[in-house]
């Protein structure tokens, strides 16, 4: 390890890093702007200056940019000397020439990297007497606010947006001191990852518009470590709350999962928490069909009494915690507990689990996905089903560039140099999907294929890798050479990765993906396999329930047979799990239907007893992400009114019923512990986070930052006496500002702040090295064998074939195969309830290729009737859609009757009216809170 000297002190440092990351890692405060740990160096802002000396005799030295300077053994630097300090101060003064003095009304104020750096360099007195440049701002959609006058031209926005995330609609315009970062014309930013601009921009140019409209300073936000409920990836988040409202979601760093970035579904999709239509009181349906509000004691009595019938069944939820599901399963007994998937999905998710358990290939973390040097994506449009993975895949294709760079001995942080060197040379990624995907621009090749052909392609690739002859007849002739080419590429790679998922509804594709990964492993490749599942706890639910769990249809049959009479539904809108008739039938088969949910949906409305369940921001729980990582989320604030975490309702009910199972259960941790003990697959969940008794140097971890203000004043309209802070009896976190937020386990990081570092850039103070894992360790516990522990023998697994997968009766007459086309906005249940995202949800659609549209006599924007009254949806002509397939906006309202892979007829809908466009509701003048 090289030894460098800074201001006379010698440090042993890590080689291969630049001086800036090294200084930060050493705990030295060195200001910077353009550098970003995830994006490397370009040397634009010139802020991170040190003086470097040739040798001990050199007294003058020369200014170097730390971010562009590799650390080398024996190098001599000065950080604190006058020359370096004056230079850094001059840089901030220059950056401030045109910067407006609008901190008091700037949404970034108080967490502004520019403020921090200005204070850090000690720049105070302004010498410039000229006029400031001003710019016109743009409307960038409902998520991001644009205030160009605050720009300091660090180029981070476009480097992130374009270079890192692949967005094309944001660029640097003009030159000299007129540079403008914006769009060609006003309009919604198109990237699915635009929201990260909020955290990437070191000042207030790009801010969270939803926060701007409902503003709270960072220091007044109460936060807790949380996990995104948007999809199965399990990104770590830091939701912030004030006055009982969720104000915003920021990224919570996890070196193995989301790193520094979230997708927009995750960042903006949690606003359902504030929904006015959330349930707040228990309700009992009276004979007249109306609900009567109950207090929670009464509600509990009712519930316990009902459950005492002994003919109780339950439907769990892949969006609810492991603990709530576990308790409910205990309450009704496993054979009466359905995991809460749709019948088709239940087979798919449990197959995905079985395949991964049996796979010889490793299950990569999201971070390891970035290391792949050849990728095959089968069927899954990850940008729309597991968005953060798409961002990781975009980094994986850059491995080719790093390889080239290594040849010139360029370090990976030399960002601009490496991009210039590699230009558009990328590591290979092959995508086979039913139609285009947002990752196509970085794919070596994408194939539009029907689901069966995608599976056949996968199997052919697997066979080729294994040196077996291609199974004849299954794979269209023209794909033979492609299959060979893909096989050779994957087999020639060091770290090949296969990705598939439940997103297109085909078990054959999942199986084929596993075949490819196993074939690679047989050929001594360190292959990885990633199978995407849809919801935050889909995998956890499959692990809890195993492969033999009853599905919805089974419960209904047994209820109709009189074996069951009471149904408890946990946080699950069943109408998203089946067609209306199916669910109506299911619910009608039970005498009593108890629903626990925080949301008022069709299922809650069908309840005989409705219990208001706390949402993720009001409760604790464990979720198992698609990579098999058990992660704990914690309440950010106290549940409103009579809302209780589902596990609290259930435990109280079980206690009321005096069930022996719950004797030793007193706290949340007890449930986790007992669940881990009872369910071997979940044995690791206790390691997801420390338990209630964890203390950080003797105290709990505060949810409120040290600058939290107005604890008394914020409720002065109610009472001038400050109430005692509520105690958190379930977690190691406290609803206070007293305590430390330092060196605790990574799973318990509620916010980031360090003296002098008010912005999120303070994160490096919590990392083992700048950009590295958290000092307290990476949050979460992996439950799946990450190194590929299986024997590859899942081919004969007992996976149930998915219900809708029959392709019988195929394409005779005008029949199309329905294929899901999930959208990042609109396809999942919760984020669709966020008002800002709701604006971005396009009308439900059917996608057809030009020829198919022509054969139906429809064009873009026309309506089409699907099947016999299954749905009527807008036509989108998309030439990349494979012929014979009709893509549908899965998960959208109005698509509840559509089943993946079903064969349907399509007819032009004559009386169709196109839905009006909604985007831009806040564009007009007088948009209220817009002028922060």
């Amino acid at each position: 390890m090289p030894v460098i000297t800074i201001d006379g002190v010698s440090y042993e440092v890590e080689s291969g890093r630049n001086l800036l990351e090294t200084c930060l890692s050493l705990g030295l405060d060195l200001p910077y702007f353009c550098w970003h740990p995830a994006m490397g160096s370009i040397g634009a802002c010139r802020q991170c200056a040190l003086v470097q000396y040739q040798n001990a005799e050199d007294t003058r030295g020369r200014i170097v940019m730390a971010c562009m300077t590799p650390v080398s053994d024996g190098a001599l630097f000065s950080l604190a000397g006058d020359k370096a300090r004056h230079f850094r101060e001059a840089i901030v003064e220059s950056l401030m020439l045109n910067h407006p003095h609008d901190c008091p009304v700037c949404a970034e104020g108080g967490e502004c990297h520019l403020q921090d750096m200005t204070v850090m360099v000690g720049h105070r007195d302004r010498h410039y007497r000229g006029r400031k440049n001003t710019h016109r701002n743009q409307y960038l959609g409902p998520l991001i606010n644009h205030e160009m006058n605050r720009c300091i031209t660090c180029y981070r926005c476009t480097r992130y947006y374009r270079d890192y995330a692949g967005g094309t609609d944001l660029a640097a315009m003009a030159a000299h001191d007129h540079i403008y970062f914006g769009r060609h014309q006003e309009g919604v930013l198109q990237s699915e990852f635009a929201g990260n601009l909020v955290e990437v921009c070191p000042t207030g140019v790009f801010t969270d518009k939803t926060l701007v409209h409902d503003y709270t300073r960072k220091w007044d936000l109460q936060s807790a470590p949380s996990v995104c409920t948007g999809c199965g990836v399990g990104c770590n988040t830091m939701p912030g709350e004030r006055y009982g409202r969720l104000k915003r979601v920021h990224n919570r760093f996890n070196a193995e999962v989301n790193g520094y970035f979230l997708c927009d579904r995750g960042r903006f999709g949690a606003a359902f928490v504030n929904s006015g239509s959330a349930l707040e009181y228990p309700g009992l349906r009276e004979a007249d069909g109306r609900y009567r509000a109950l207090d929670h004691h009464e509600a509990l009595h009712r519930m316990a009494a009902t459950c005492a019938s002994g003919k109780c069944a339950a439907i769990g939820s892949p969006r609810a915690s492991v603990e709530a599901n576990f308790l409910l399963r205990e309450l009704v007994a496993p054979e009466n507990f359905a995991p809460g998937f749709s019948d088709a999905e239940q087979g798919l998710v449990s197959l995905a689990l079985t395949l991964q358990l049996a796979s010889r290939a490793g299950i990569p973390s999201i971070r390891s996905i970035e290391s792949a040097d050849a990728v095959l994506v089968l069927g899954e449009d990850v940008t729309n089903t597991a968005p953060r993975i798409a961002l990781a895949l975009r980094q994986s294709v850059r491995n080719k560039a790093y390889e080239l760079a290594a040849g010139l001995r360029l370090e990976p942080w030399q960002d601009a140099a490496i991009r210039n060197l590699a230009q558009d040379q990328r590591s290979p990624m092959f995508i086979a999907t039913v139609a285009d995907t947002p990752l196509d621009d970085v794919a070596a090749k994408r194939f539009s294929l029907a689901p069966d052909d995608i599976a056949a392609l996968g199997r052919a690739v697997a066979a080729t890798i294994s040196g077996k002859p291609l199974p004849s007849g299954v794979l269209p002739e023209h794909l033979h050479s492609e299959a060979r080419m893909i096989a050779e590429t994957l087999a020639g790679a060091q770290r090949p990765l296969v990705i598939a998922g439940t997103g297109c509804g085909s078990s054959a594709i999942l199986q084929a993906a596993a075949d490819v990964a196993n074939a690679l492993c047989d050929n001594a490749r360190k292959a990885m396999i990633c199978l995407c599942v849809p919801e935050a706890n889909s995998l956890g639910q499959a692990m809890l329930c195993g492969t033999q769990a009853p599905d919805l249809a089974a419960l209904q049959r047994r209820a109709e047979a009189g074996e069951l009479d009471t149904l408890i539904v946990l946080e699950n809108d069943l109408y998203r799990r089946g067609g209306q008739a199916q669910i109506d039938g299911l619910l009608a088969a039970f005498r009593e239907v108890i629903v626990m949910d925080g949301l008022d949906n069709r299922t809650t409305s069908a309840a005989t007893l409705a219990l208001p369940a706390a949402n993720f921001a009001e409760s604790e729980g464990t979720l198992v992400s698609l990579e098999g990582r058990a992660q704990r989320y914690f309440p950010v604030f106290q549940p409103r009114e009579e809302r209780r975490p589902s596990w609290v309702w259930l435990l109280a009910c079980m206690k009321e019923m005096e069930l022996p199972e719950c004797h030793s259960m007193h706290h949340f941790d007890d449930i986790t512990r007992i669940c881990a003990a009872r369910i071997p697959a979940l044995a690791g969940i206790t390691a997801a986070a420390p338990d209630l008794h964890y203390l950080n140097l003797g105290v709990k971890i505060p949810r409120q930052p040290p600058r939290y203000s107005g604890r008394t004043a914020m409720r002065a309209n109610i009472s001038v006496h400050e109430p005692k802070q509520r105690e958190d009896e379930e977690t190691p976190l406290a609803f206070t500002m007293e305590g430390l937020n330092r060196s605790q386990p990574g799973a318990l990081l509620p916010w980031v702040w360090a003296p002098g570092w008010n912005s999120n850039q303070s994160l490096h103070k919590f990392q083992t090295r700048a950009g590295g894992p958290l000092k307290g360790g990476t949050a979460g516990a992996r439950l799946l064998p990450t190194g590929g522990g299986g024997n590859g023998n899942a081919a004969t697994s007992q996976a149930q074939p998915a219900r809708a997968e029959s392709t019988a009766g195929t394409t005779t007459g005008q029949r199309w195969q329905l294929v899901p086309r999930p959208r990042i906005f609109g396809s999942d249940e919760l984020s669709a309830l966020s008002p800002a995202l709701a604006e971005l949800i396009v009308p439900g659609f059917i996608e057809l290729c030009t020829a198919d549209a022509a054969s139906l006599g429809v064009k873009d924007g026309d309506g089409v009737d699907v099947g016999d009254g299954l749905a009527t949806l807008e036509v989108r002509v998309n030439d990349s859609m494979v012929a014979g397939c009709a893509g549908y906006s899965a998960g959208f309202s109005g698509t509840g009757e559509l089943a993946a892979l079903a064969q349907v007829t399509l007819r032009r809908a004559d009386a169709w009216q196109r839905a009006p466009e909604l985007i831009g509701s806040d564009r007009g003048i007088g948009s209220g809170g817009g002028h922060v």
């Binding site: 094309t168 609609d169 944001l170 660029a171 315009m173 030159a175 403008y180 769009r183 060609h184 230009q423």
Partner: protein, 164 residues
């Protein structure tokens, strides 16, 4: 905007495609393409820019970032003739400020302005590499050396009009 206006002419496309043949990436001819369209239309409108971007498989943003960087790509309409007045050091020593003032009197336009009859636009330009003949200016593709008030009246003798 109708598609017709947005489309590039066959001639423009042919010119751009000829350039594309020489480079490894379509986007590499961004500047040539902008200049080709500008040569035909005088300037590069938003519609033209989008059409070029489509043809080069770039986003409008990427191309606009390039277009707005270069001072000789005109993103706003200019007069039939662009007057490029050198105001770099040697021409300044030799009185380019007076020339500029004279043009203002004669044509009624300052730097960055276009005469109301749309005949002339006056723009400053970097040292034209003719410092031994300072002051100089260009009108269209023509370089005029040792300019003085006298030669200016000959250049624009029929006047221009008043500025907008």
């Amino acid at each position: 905007m109708s598609e017709l206006i947005q489309a590039l002419s066959a001639q423009e496309i042919a010119g751009i495609d000829a350039e594309i043949a020489h480079v490894p990436y379509r986007s590499a001819v961004a500047i040539e393409a902008l200049k080709i369209v500008q040569a035909h239309r005088g300037w590069v409108s938003d519609e033209s820019l989008r059409a070029i971007a489509r043809h080069l498989h770039m986003s409008a943003e990427e191309l606009d970032g390039v277009a707005t960087f270069y001072n000789l790509i005109y993103r706003r309409p200019v007069g039939e003739q662009v007057i490029l007045l050198c105001n770099s050091i040697s021409c300044w020593i030799k009185g380019c400020d007076k020339i500029q003032k004279r043009i203002q009197e004669q044509l009624g336009i300052g730097l960055g302005e276009t005469t109301s009859d749309k005949r002339y636009t006056l723009l400053p330009v970097t040292c034209l590499g003719a410092c031994d003949k300072a002051p100089v200016l260009m009108v269209g593709e023509e370089l005029h050396e040792n300019v003085d008030t006298h030669s200016l009246s000959r250049l624009f003798d029929d006047g221009g009009g008043t500025s907008e």
